[in-house]
C-alpha cells in the first residue's frame, strides 16, 4: 500500500512545506522587523491573492471572466463567501453549457 520512494517523496514535500509555513514566522520573530516591514505586511494578504487571481483570469476565457464577475457581485450583495462561490461557479457552468 505504501511504496518507499512514494513515501520519501511525500515526506520531502511535507518537510519543505512545513519549513515555509513555520520558517517565515520564526525568521520574522528573530529579526525584529522595522516599521517599514510591518507596514509592508499589512499589504501582503491582498496583493498575494491578486497575484493568484489576475494571472488565472488572464489565462482563462469568458467562462472564468463571467464567473469571477458573478462571484464579486454576489459577494458584494451578500457578504457571504459560500454565496459568492456558488454564484460564480453557477455562472461559469452556464457559460460552459451554452458554448
Amino acid at each position: 500500500m505504501i511504496e518507499t520512494a512514494n513515501l520519501l517523496g511525500i515526506l520531502g514535500m511535507a518537510l519543505a512545506t512545513l519549513a515555509c509555513r513555520a520558517g517565515g514566522y520564526f525568521l520574522f520573530r528573530a529579526l525584529r522587523p522595522s516599521p517599514f516591514l510591518r507596514a509592508m505586511l499589512g499589504y501582503v494578504p491582498g496583493a498575494l491573492f491578486i497575484g493568484y487571481v489576475v494571472p488565472a483570469l488572464a489565462a482563462g476565457g469568458l467562462k472564468e471572466w463571467l464567473g469571477a464577475a458573478a462571484t464579486l457581485v454576489a459577494m458584494r450583495l451578500s457578504g457571504n463567501v459560500a454565496v459568492g462561490i456558488a454564484a460564480g461557479t453557477a455562472a461559469a457552468w452556464a457559460v460552459w453549457l451554452v458554448r
Partner: protein, 234 residues
C-alpha cells in the same frame, strides 16, 4: 495560561465560519484525489500526502511531475517553490501567533493555508485575535481537504471531469470571494495594481511553481509601505 489567547468558543466560531470555504475547496480536493489515482498512488499514499502536505497547488504540481520511481528531490523542490508564499503569511499573523506556544503554535503553523489565512486577516480587522479561531478554521479545512482527496481517489476511475470543467472554477471563485473582505479602501488600489502588474509577466516567464504569487505579494507590500513612508515624511 492560554485562556484568553486560545479559547474553545473561538475554535467553534472559526470552524463554523470556514464551512463555506471548505465547501468551495471540495472540487479542488477531488481533483487532487483523481490526479493521484491516475498516477498510481494508493489510497493510503493519497491520504498521507493530503494530510501531511495540505497545500493543494503544490500537490497538483508535484503529481504532474510524479513518475515511477518518483523524483524525490524534484517534488520536494516543487513543494518548496509553490509554498514559499506561506513564509509571508506567518509574519502577517504575528499578532495571533506570538502569544501561543507548544501545540497551539505549531498546530496553527502546520494548518496555515491560503483560504484560512485570508479569512483570519479579514476577521482580524474586525478585532478577532483568538488563536483558537485560527485553529478551528484550519482544522475544518484540513478535515475537508483530507476527506475530499480520499473521495476523489475512490471516484478517480469512475468520475473523470475533463480538464476545463466549470467545477474546477470553484477553487478560483473562492479566492475571488476572499478578495472582497480583504479590500480595505482606496489606499489598497495602488498596491493591488502593482501586484497585478508584476504577477502577469512573472506568471508568463515562470509558469511552474508560484513565483508570480510571491512576486505579487512582495510588489504590493513594497509599494504600500513605500507610499506610507513618503506620506509620513510629507
Amino acid at each position: 495560561m492560554h485562556a484568553r489567547h486560545f479559547t474553545s468558543a473561538a475554535l467553534a466560531r472559526g470552524a463554523r465560519r470556514s464551512l463555506a470555504i471548505a465547501l468551495g475547496l471540495a472540487p479542488f480536493g477531488l481533483v487532487v484525489g483523481v490526479l493521484a489515482a491516475g498516477k498510481g498512488l494508493s489510497l493510503v499514499e493519497t491520504g498521507l500526502m493530503s494530510g501531511l502536505v495540505f497545500a493543494g497547488a503544490s500537490q497538483i504540481l508535484a503529481l504532474d511531475l510524479w513518475t515511477h520511481p518518483v523524483p524525490i528531490l524534484t517534488v520536494t523542490f516543487a513543494a518548496f517553490a509553490v509554498n514559499l508564499r506561506m513564509a509571508l503569511m506567518g509574519p502577517a499573523l504575528a499578532a495571533w501567533l506570538e502569544k501561543l506556544s507548544g501545540w497551539r503554535l505549531w498546530g496553527n503553523l502546520f494548518l496555515l493555508v491560503d483560504h484560512g489565512f485570508a479569512l483570519a486577516i479579514a476577521e482580524g480587522r474586525k478585532g478577532e485575535r483568538d488563536g483558537g479561531f485560527l485553529f478551528g478554521v484550519g482544522l475544518v479545512l484540513w478535515v475537508a481537504w483530507l476527506a475530499c482527496s480520499l473521495l476523489g481517489h475512490v471516484l478517480g476511475t469512475v468520475l473523470r471531469p475533463p480538464r476545463g470543467h466549470p467545477l474546477f472554477f470553484a477553487a478560483l471563485a473562492a479566492f475571488v470571494s476572499l478578495l472582497v473582505p480583504l479590500w480595505r479602501g482606496r489606499h489598497d488600489a495602488l498596491p493591488w495594481l502593482a501586484a497585478a502588474g508584476v504577477a502577469l509577466p512573472v506568471a508568463r516567464l515562470a509558469p511552474h511553481g508560484a513565483w508570480h504569487v510571491v512576486a505579487a505579494a512582495l510588489a504590493g507590500g513594497l509599494v504600500g509601505a513605500w507610499r506610507e513612508r513618503r506620506q509620513g515624511r510629507a
